[in-house]
Symmetry: C2
Subunit: 203 residues, 2 copies
Amino acid sequence: MSERGRPRSFDRASALHRAMEVFWAKGYEGASLSDLTAAMGINSPSLYAAFGSKEALFLEATDLYTRSEGTDIWSTLEEAPTAELAIEGFLTQTAKAYSQADRPQGCLIALGALHQDSTQGLICQDLRRRRAENQAALERRLERAVAEGELPADFDCRTAATFFATVQHGMSIQARDGATYAALMATAAGAMAAWATMAGVRA
Amino acid sequence: MSERGRPRSFDRASALHRAMEVFWAKGYEGASLSDLTAAMGINSPSLYAAFGSKEALFLEATDLYTRSEGTDIWSTLEEAPTAELAIEGFLTQTAKAYSQADRPQGCLIALGALHQDSTQGLICQDLRRRRAENQAALERRLERAVAEGELPADFDCRTAATFFATVQHGMSIQARDGATYAALMATAAGAMAAWATMAGVRA
DNA sequence: TCCTTTCTGTGTTGATCGATACATAATTCA
DNA sequence: TGAATTATGTATCGATCAACACAGAAAGGA
């Protein structure tokens, strides 16, 4: 049903994937429609017919990014047996994801649109919401560990979540500066040194 | 001498200061010439006569930024009596500087131009160089502490410097997301927890 | 077959981008 | 005073921006 009219001559999903890569590499305002249509292999009317606008395309691309690129990081966080392994895995997966040679370096959510502008307020707001949600996921994981008795009741989950989320954001900039996997792992090791103090030397 | 011709009708230094604020708030590509000339109170020919180009203006603005906004952070690092106080002061001053209400939040050097582009390769390169120099300053301070016998000889200065520089970069994004001074200090506290492990529990 | 619907490619829209041409105003030097 | 020099304001340059008008092409429904 609803397949009337001329069929689309390109694959919408793979075109969206290409668009995601362009936004990832160049950011929202840095990615021009010429860049996008060239990478997607279509003309601008097709882009607007299929996605609505540059803004809507970006929102859909970030959604795809969250679903396709962030899974390893966040599934490790949830599934690791202890909070320490969860944070360590979170940082290690981040280091790995941010330094993949065949992809843009760093994180689309962190770097996609940092400078609020009248034309991109909605974009900034959406990315900010996603960053806040990521930090909240960290905090929930730590609170779970407190509830399960793994961490002491006075463990400051919010401060720790803020800290680890901020380290991850910093790793995006570090990766953009060309940091290797090893360099990112050095940062991860530093953050885990903080964990030792936060959780270890207590009882 | 060399004061021939019609004198400039505006104060070059304060115009540069206004330009710095615009670049700081909007980034390099986000700051249009209209934004700049409006904030500087001049027309574009005056801008080009006085500064050469948008690119040259940005480079001069970042230089001013380094000289005027970064001084507290880096002087604390150098002058603190111990390495621990140096790092702690570095982080505290950063939290303070990044959350000033009357200024753009976060750091111009960290956020000014993250997406390399054909038109702004030189800008990215310059900011990258400045970030690397900041990290090198951290490393030198730690190496000094090792040389003075304050830290053990096997202290990994490079890893630590990488870690603290990355935390600072993350604080820029955190500040852009509206983090308060208290929230930034939570991150600073987390980073200092790492210091305790790195340097404290050793001998 | 004809009508409706949807997509595609060409070409273009008004706006804005960074950067200047040009004539005029204001100063120093001779 | 007149020549040389430098800055200013107006007005605009070609290029590019995001977005779309339009006509033709390709499908389904009757």
